[in-house]
Symmetry: C2
Subunit: 293 residues, 2 copies
Amino acid sequence: MSSRTHVSSSARTQFLEVKGGERYAYRRFGSGPGLPLLLLQHFTGTLDNWDPALTDALAGERELILFDNAGIGHSSGPVPTTVAGMAKHAAAFLDGLGVGTCDVLGFSLGGMVAQHLVLDRPAIFRRLILAGTGPRGGEDIMHLEKPSLAKHLQDPANKGYRVLQKIFFTPTPSGQAAGAAFVERLIERKEDLDGVSGPAVANAQMAAFHDWERVTGERFAELRTIRHPTLVVNGVHDEMIPVVNSYHLVEHLPNAVLLTYPDAGHGSLFQYHDSFARHAAAFLSVSSESAVY
Amino acid sequence: MSSRTHVSSSARTQFLEVKGGERYAYRRFGSGPGLPLLLLQHFTGTLDNWDPALTDALAGERELILFDNAGIGHSSGPVPTTVAGMAKHAAAFLDGLGVGTCDVLGFSLGGMVAQHLVLDRPAIFRRLILAGTGPRGGEDIMHLEKPSLAKHLQDPANKGYRVLQKIFFTPTPSGQAAGAAFVERLIERKEDLDGVSGPAVANAQMAAFHDWERVTGERFAELRTIRHPTLVVNGVHDEMIPVVNSYHLVEHLPNAVLLTYPDAGHGSLFQYHDSFARHAAAFLSVSSESAVY
């Protein structure tokens, strides 16, 4: 295991107010030769939901920018009910920050925002990492009413971050141990917290998922126009956005490598944070036009 | 690109005669801290069909053992018509050589032999790399009569190794350029050649593929008993053993990582030999029980 720098847990929340727009909360830390890496977060997740073990590792070689979309954490405004709306906010944020081109790590809902944004504004990203996510028109995306998920979400014993241990990780002893360790790392941060998302956030984001799941036009056709080098990562037992969605991504994106992890669910990048950070760094360090690393 | 050592092209063919059994042709070269790596070859492939760029790179950190199964190249005996029969020969060869435990890279048919052998003799392998292959009961395995393959196999212009450029690589300019480079590397070897497989080899091996494609018992159940760390690799556009077979492998093997390559077919490990050798070396260098690297 790598030694931790703990730079993530001490990074202060900053704010960027866009003229005529919203006031976005973000955290920016790390340094190195790489382009900045924008991190786009999962369903109901805030700045506090990034695993500090992962962000500490990534921040050793590049600047990270953790971003709260509109209405999330301390960002102002209503939560958009479409991925397109979220992508507009992410673009406004990067423009306001003066970041012309960066790399992006989009996890789950954040991976959908990254796909939408790169279609709108191809030059805004150089390389994409899409973890635990799926394409527009994907399958079985975020059906929280499924018994495999509902039993955890409706269990009153799963308070706070503990529900993530259940729904982001496999039920095996090794999966649950990794989930418990993840929760312990999330609660390392004691001050300058970003708050917890309520039902209004969840409802708006669920509307965005349902819209994203609809097939519009020729299925997956837009993926073929994204020529950016892309690394797709997933756990093979993801119950929230099943791994078949990652298969669709790499079969239709012309320049994408797939990495799947065993005994892992939606949170595979947190379960195997050492490995994921190593693969991400190797992928991001390539200067050619190929996704292959 | 890594600088080449050209150790592969100069490695001499050796022979091992098993008491009461066959006389097997093999090549053994390379050195380093790793366990020996047994290489199990594809349909009709001989010792000469391993990409020297790949084996040169792998041989820098470990000893490689390239093996001709019975009836292939200069190995004696009839070609088995089942994967089980091929696995018996591979076991007899390793036993005769005095190799108690090794790592294995099985490509295509060789990956099936590796799976069968590790089920028979779990202690014989430590770690498995399965490239361009599929599980017993897989889908669309080696249907050479498919138009996408038959048009190349029946084209008289595709003489010798040139057919491999067509069927192992994508039809894109980059895929075909990689295929042409692969063929150039194969013909680097000028002496001590292993010969070319004829129709008798092809017919026996096709029988083995057809038998392997049949579902016997509960589909994929035996995969769950292989707990060995496994790296599964494929091109997303493999026409010979489609990538869905790699998905089945990692969804049922309990301890397997999947890596897929873009713009690549059956020969993805040769197309991206630098990357593949790097990933293989990283995977093989892990000393824990986990496939994650």
